[in-house]
Point group: C2
Chain length 250, copies 2
């Protein structure tokens, strides 16, 4: 039935099937619901074949994370290409990060836990490298906007801050805000009825102001409505669909 020599297109297609089914399984039953046996029952391949593609459950999870990073990377690149000033663009990236986390909360949490030793150690070298590469891509987008801002004069680096430091400060701030407000972490004491979207934007504004990133704005950033009805219109609609009918795959 199957060809003797498998071309990489066929292999990729299979991997996609496996990742899709794994994702769906997680969407239905949570991360702990993902089981190799259950997965095998849903796909036209056997357990052994799955293990030809993934070194184990953890490798599969990292595979899903890589897909999530790809999704995020697309959003970032679109945000970075937003036709506005540098402050609007960096804000758009933060906004994109938040959108991603809301559209795909499970993947967002997965990425956090993917680097813990219990998962990372069991990830194949091949996929570890692929993951790192995607992560680098993301950082590059961030850095590009920062460098642009500097060259245009919108931003001048504070003493003892490198471009990377600025990128990291913004990233950590967005990440912390999103992570603590993530729906998975319901009923956190820290988050008392705080809405994610305004919080992320407020925190971005605070930090950008602190860097003296021009043009200085009061929060909320005025450009947000444009992002929601323009650049990220599709994602916003996708998000609203999610809120009405839950449980559908990415």
């Amino acid at each position: 039935m199957s060809p003797k020599i498998l071309d990489s297109a066929e292999l990729d297609a299979r991997e996609q099937v496996m990742l899709r089914s794994a994702f769906q399984l997680i969407a239905e039953e949570g991360v702990s619901g993902l089981t190799i046996d259950k997965l095998v029952n849903r796909i036209p391949y056997s357990k052994g074949t799955v293990y030809n593609h993934f070194s184990g459950k953890e490798d599969l999870l990292t595979g899903l994370c890589i897909e999530a990073l790809e999704h995020l990377s697309h959003l970032f690149q679109r945000a970075a290409a937003y036709p506005g000033n540098s402050r609007e663009r960096i804000t758009a990236i933060g906004f994109a990060y938040m959108l991603h986390a809301q559209i795909n909360p499970v993947a967002f949490m997965l990425v956090i836990t993917a680097k813990t030793p219990s998962i990372w150690e069991k990830t194949s070298d091949k996929r570890q490298q692929a993951y790192q590469q995607k992560e680098d891509q993301l950082l590059q987008v961030f850095l590009q906007v920062i460098c642009d801002a500097i060259s245009v004069g919108d931003l001048s680096l504070p003493a003892s801050f490198s471009e990377s430091d600025v990128a990291f400060a913004l990233w950590a701030n967005c990440f912390g805000t999103i992570a603590l407000l993530q729906e998975d972490l319901e009923r956190c004491a820290v988050r008392q009825n705080i809405e994610m979207e305004p919080a992320v934007l407020r925190h971005c504004s605070l930090l950008l102001n602190s860097f003296g990133w021009l043009p200085l704005h009061q929060n909320p950033e005025p450009t947000i409505e444009q992002l929601k009805t323009g650049l990220f219109k599709a994602e916003i609609e996708q998000l609203e669909q999610r809120l009405t009918a839950k449980g559908q795959p990415l």
Copy 2:
């Protein structure tokens, strides 16, 4: 051998024994190394007895998180009582958060993952409540310092910011910085040779300045050396011991 009717002191003592051994097991073999069977082999109680105390492995993990939050709570309270101005005190809390994460990195990561559905759902109601309570305690310390700062005049709330919003912004910022620089997440692209201590302090300074929290400082906050040689002397030493000889329990 055992008394017929167990008083709560005896029960608490047992729970401590179990938690200690679980902690040690994790320190030796990582979170995935914690196994009920292995735990049972190390303590003078049987599996059934363990299950009389904890509803399962996840409940045990949450139990460890509660202990971690208690540790953190002590640090926070000491920081909040630091005899300095309000800005120094809030900075001391952020510093304490970082110290805690460095002294007990596994617990820090555990607390992140504890709220994910796969763990939280399997946690007993009793322990869920205990956890929430500890979390509330932490937030209260934060809020107290913020309210003090306002009443003293060091801080005036920005428009559309409540006290909780300020607390959350600071918390999220510290959390994000620490989490991304956590040693468990080695080789993150975002963190290129960035040291945790200066990063946390820089980010705190940025945010405090953005709030106009008086007295305005350049980073690094000048009070840090005092914290390291005074208030948190013991913890700093503990940390240095950890760096030289790894693997010893909290």
